[in-house]
Amino acid sequence: MSEDEINHIRPLFVDGLARLAAREHIAILDGGTNSGVMALTGEGVARYGLTVPLIGVCPVAKVSWPGNPNPYAEAELEPNHSHFVLTGGQEFGAESQTIYAMAEALSKQMPSVALVVNGGQITYDEALRNVEQGRELIVFKGSGRAADAIATAWEKSQTDNPCVAEIVRRGQIVLFDVAEGPEELATLIRQRLWRNTR
């Protein structure tokens, strides 16, 4: 994501997601690197505190952290996460199987929802994994790339991308416009998480 794109959505993740997670004890599972929305979530945790785990999952071959320099790293670990799961594999995307095995195990105990923001091919694959696990997608319309492709396909009921078509055909999708504010995002996440449990 570009610096402008990051700055545009910063309030949504810092003052929206992270604050909500701290207030309502919502655990977050993400890619764990100090980039994109994961860095923003970490920034929010630093501001609002952490009441439940913030778990990052990524391939150990592609990341570095203090005391563990890695010449092949493409990203550093985000320093506000409480837990990391460092998987095998030589490329980003290798961790997807582990992330979704964990998501499936956790969602047997608690309600869950997936946020789709920007992203590329790995995001399509992971969106489909969420669909296969019956997890609702909140797709950030206006965040760019994969998220916008899914949002457009959802609104127009057409796409040339077979993976997107499958996501739209089988998925439970809610669009969130990034022009809205952090309170609107928090309200939406709260509604989608608790609608079947309260």
Partner: protein, 87 residues
């Protein structure tokens, strides 16, 4: 003895006295949790899931609990090892 993902060899010596709780790998110095009654020398390998546990310390003063796992590690074992609960 089997190779672990960390490159260290697992060595669980059943002749050692009963031990529990975290111990430290003699190789990489990471904290690890051997099976009950086993004394750890090098990075832990659980019976069915090779999971190495360590604490990562960051310059901002925070620390994180981390596990290194193979791609086929069982999710329940990961969550349990992270002390996040066992579904």
């Amino acid at each position: 003895m089997r190779d672990t993902s960390s490159g260290h060899r697992t060595s669980l010596n059943e002749e050692q006295p009963q031990t529990t709780g975290a111990q430290v790998c003699e190789g990489c110095k990471a904290a690890a949790f051997p099976l009950r009654g086993m004394r750890l020398r090098f990075c832990v390998e659980k019976v069915t899931n090779r999971i190495v546990v360590e604490t990562l310390n960051f310059p901002n003063g925070r620390s994180a609990r981390a596990v290194r796992v193979p791609g086929d590690a069982d999710a329940t074992a990961i969550l349990s090892t992270l002390a996040l609960g066992s579904p």
